[in-house]
């Protein structure tokens, strides 16, 4: 099943402490690979490898701007705030309809 593959990718991507640190840095906003390496004992090829895994899991995406490549949390990925907001914008109206029905039932 595709969702199982997807889960396995996320587990693998975030199971590594370095990748988790990279992911958490990106949660604060987009960054280049060299900015991400600041304060971390990690070579450029190793960082590229970690970013490739995060991208493969759909957690992070890259955005090319001229000579630079910025990395950011994938706004369509499961980790993003955008996805969270979208989910609950449609969730609450349904819950409120159910609450309205319950309030009507409580009269009887």
């Amino acid at each position: 099943m595709t969702t199982d593959i997807f889960k396995a990718d996320i587990f693998k991507a975030l199971g590594d402490p370095t990748r988790r640190a990279v992911f958490e840095k990106l949660a604060g906003g987009q960054m280049t690979a060299s900015a991400l390496r600041e304060g971390m004992q990690i070579s450029q090829p190793a960082m590229s490898q970690h970013l490739a895994v995060l991208r493969g899991a759909g957690l992070v995406r890259e955005e090319r701007q001229g000579r630079f490549v910025n990395y950011e949390i994938d706004p369509n990925g499961i980790a993003s705030l955008g996805e969270w907001l979208m989910r609950y914008r449609s969730y609450w109206p349904k819950r409120m309809d159910a609450l309205k029905d319950l309030l009507k039932d409580m009269d009887q």
């Binding site: 889960k7 996320i10 587990f11 693998k12 975030l14 199971g15 402490p17 988790r20 992911f23 958490e24 949660a27 499961i78 980790a79 705030l81 969270w84 907001l85 609950y88 914008r89 609450w92 109206p93 819950r95 409120m96 159910a98 609450l99 309205k100 029905d101 319950l102 309030l103 039932d105 409580m106």
Partner: protein, 121 residues
């Protein structure tokens, strides 16, 4: 019915703030929101981290921790504020927050699950 649809007044980008108006009086809405058997009818326990509220001020506001049933089981907090409105009914405000702390929590949980998966393998 004069029940108004939700009004959206988000202040921060990591939270949803929604207002709903109900014809029912505040004490009745309070019961619907806090009595577990009634709450279950519109907000199922499957969507909560725990059935008990995290905090509450009797008759005014109650907060629950939410936890998504599906992976990666994101957690969030929701507060329901209840107050009388101008037409004898109730204004119910929902403040639903997805904080960076929750984001960290589920990344850590994913990491722990990953470790136990490797142990099991």
């Amino acid at each position: 019915m004069s029940d108004a649809p939700g009004r959206d007044r988000n202040k921060q980008d990591n939270e949803l703030v929604l207002d709903y108006e109900f014809d029912a009086p505040p004490d009745k809405v309070w019961r619907a929101v806090t009595v577990p058997a009634l709450r279950e009818r519109w907000l199922p326990g499957a969507d909560l981290a725990e059935a008990e509220p995290v905090s509450s001020i009797a008759g005014e506001e109650v907060s629950y921790r939410m936890r998504e049933a599906d992976f990666p089981h994101r957690e969030s907090s929701v507060t329901f504020r209840i107050e009388p409105n101008e037409s004898g009914g109730t204004r119910l405000s929902i403040v639903h927050r997805f904080a960076p702390a929750e984001l960290r929590q589920w990344t850590l949980r994913a990491a722990n699950t990953n470790r136990s998966m490797m142990r099991a393998a």
